[in-house]
């Protein structure tokens, strides 16, 4: 079981002077992500969605409220909540296999067992034959595959994703979204995806949490109960897209 619960979570970044006043990034955020659900946090840039993800990972502490994983407060970062970053954050001095093995070494997994798990995850993300390459020898999409394998190899309870496909070109992005659906099907985890792409949120999620502009809070909670893989031309998908777009556009209008 890996249930995430946010109860009245708020975050204020302290200011340093009168010219640099405190900034409120999040205000009264409440939601629950049930076990093995794929949940997206959708919003404009600067809505605090990445801050919320950082708190979930344990990089930052909330200023108010409580964030619980299985009814225990989320503390320091650890292998039970691994993260996939937009810039991949692969260790450039390690090969593909060693990158994926890193978390297992940190957990003191025996080397034979480690090799087996690494091999299994290389196959899962479709990188067979690239084990000995270094990250700089791979394309963006392949690097993100390594990053996904590295995050899954330690068998976390929760997988956090911070705009994982935003740095890829349109074709690769679409491909990686399809791949993510396939991978998630094989390795079901409680997932939280941060994105500003409506299409991405609809393609991947069981549930979309739409956030308001700063200070960020949850504006709408939309269930997506369509079978995967989801076609962009499906009328139900189109209708959902329109609905979410209207919600998001309201937020853009608030600023003007």
């Amino acid at each position: 079981m890996s249930v995430i619960r946010a109860i009245g979570v708020g975050k204020v970044f302290p200011g340093h002077s009168a010219a640099d006043p405190p900034v409120r990034a999040l205000k009264d955020v409440n939601f629950t992500v049930p076990d093995k659900e794929f949940c997206s946090l959708l919003g404009h840039s600067g809505c605090g969605k990445t801050t919320l993800l950082s708190i979930l990972a344990g990089f930052e502490a909330p200023s108010e409220g409580r964030l619980l994983l299985d009814d225990r407060p989320i503390g320091k970062p650890g292998w039970e909540r691994t993260m996939i970053f937009q810039d991949y954050a692969l260790f450039p001095w390690q090969t593909v296999a060693d990158n994926i093995s890193f978390g297992l070494e940190m957990r003191n997994v025996k080397s034979t067992e480690r090799r087996r798990i690494v091999e299994e995850h290389i196959a899962l993300v479709g990188l067979k034959g690239f084990e000995k390459r270094y990250p700089h020898q791979l394309s963006g999409g392949m690097r993100q595959r390594v990053s996904i394998a590295r995050a899954l190899a330690v068998n976390p309870h929760v997988l956090l994703m911070d705009e994982p496909f935003a740095a890829l070109d349109a074709q690769n992005r679409a491909l990686m979204q399809k791949e993510m659906v396939r991978i998630w099907d094989h390795a079901r985890k409680t997932c939280v995806l941060v994105t500003h792409s409506i299409e991405e949120a609809i393609a991947l999620s069981d549930r979309i949490l739409v956030m308001t502009k700063r200070p960020g809070t949850i504006k709408a909670d939309i269930r997506v109960e369509l079978p995967r893989p989801r076609s962009e031309d499906d009328p139900q998908v189109l209708a959902l897209r329109r609905q979410v777009r209207d919600l998001i556009q309201d937020e853009a209008a608030v600023e003007v």
């Binding site: 954050a89 450039p92 001095w93 890193f102 940190m106």
Partner: protein
């Protein structure tokens, strides 16, 4: 059939031989200016200058002869060995800048303590320490090593600190997520991520140290390349002076190349090193 097949093979072979010759010629071209410079120097020294002035600028032919004498007697090798030994021992101590730099780059409180001290000491040129160091250590190895150490320490330290501070924060985040302890983050991530910057610091440090070494030997040594050129000056052996200078230049270049090659071999993943 056979001779038809052999014709293109032969021509390719000819082409590659021709290509190789051209390649060599092209490489020789880089020495063009150097050859003109040497030729002019030879002519000026032998034909333009009168005999007494020519003592101050001996022609390249005399320098080569002087070099041969110094090599034959083993004197050049002895001085070079003493200088390299000093450089190496000083580097052993200056390498302490790496752990200190990592501590300063990683921990705000360590940085706070060391920063002011280092900012004040850093602009003092190593040569300004020579008078005091002669009083402290006398003339000889220890004093020389101390001066070289000062020349090496700060470039290595500052590059290490910069390397640690410039690490992609997400690399640290990723390691934390994957369950790395603080010690393992330092050892497995911080040290490795800042290694290209550390090696750059070592390159600069060894260069500055090599320059400081010669200066230290000029005034406070009984051996070494710096001593060699200063000693030759007192007996007006300008050819030996120039041999010593050229040796310093060539060895300095070789040290730098060596460290760069070592860096590229150690870090095939780093773009900084392959440049």
């Amino acid at each position: 059939m056979t001779h038809v097949a052999s014709t293109p093979a032969l021509s390719t072979e000819l082409e590659t031989t021709a290509g190789r010759c051209l390649g060599w010629l092209r490489r020789l071209r880089a020495f063009g200016l150097l050859a003109v410079f040497g030729g002019t120097w030879q002519i000026v020294s032998t034909m333009v200058l009168d005999a007494s002035t020519a003592t101050l600028l001996p022609p390249p032919s005399a320098v080569v002869k002087g070099a041969w004498e110094l090599i034959e007697t083993g004197e050049l090798f002895r001085h070079l060995r003493d200088s390299l030994k000093r450089e190496l021992i000083a580097f052993g101590f200056a390498a302490l800048a790496v752990p200190l730099g990592i501590a300063m780059g990683w921990s705000k409180s360590v940085n706070e303590q060391f920063d002011i001290l280092i900012e004040v000491l850093r602009p003092i040129p190593p040569l300004a320490w020579i008078p005091l160091s002669i009083l402290w250590f006398g003339i000889g190895d220890t004093q020389n090593q101390f001066i070289i150490f000062l020349g090496m320490f700060f470039p290595i330290l500052l590059n290490t600190v910069a390397g640690v501070k410039n690490i992609e924060p997400n690399l640290i985040h990723a390691a934390r997520c994957l369950g790395a302890s603080e010690f393992r983050i330092l050892w497995r991530v911080v040290l490795r991520a800042s290694l290209p910057s550390i090696v750059t610091g070592v390159r600069v440090g060894l260069g500055v140290g090599w320059m400081a070494l010669v200066a230290a030997e000029l005034v406070g040594a009984n051996s070494g390349l710096g001593f060699l050129i200063n000693d030759a000056r007192t007996v007006l052996r300008t050819d030996y002076v120039i041999v010593g200078m050229i040796t310093i230049g060539v060895v300095g270049l070789l040290i730098d190349r060596g460290v760069r090659l070592l860096g590229a071999w150690m870090m095939p993943w780093s773009r900084v090193m392959s440049q």
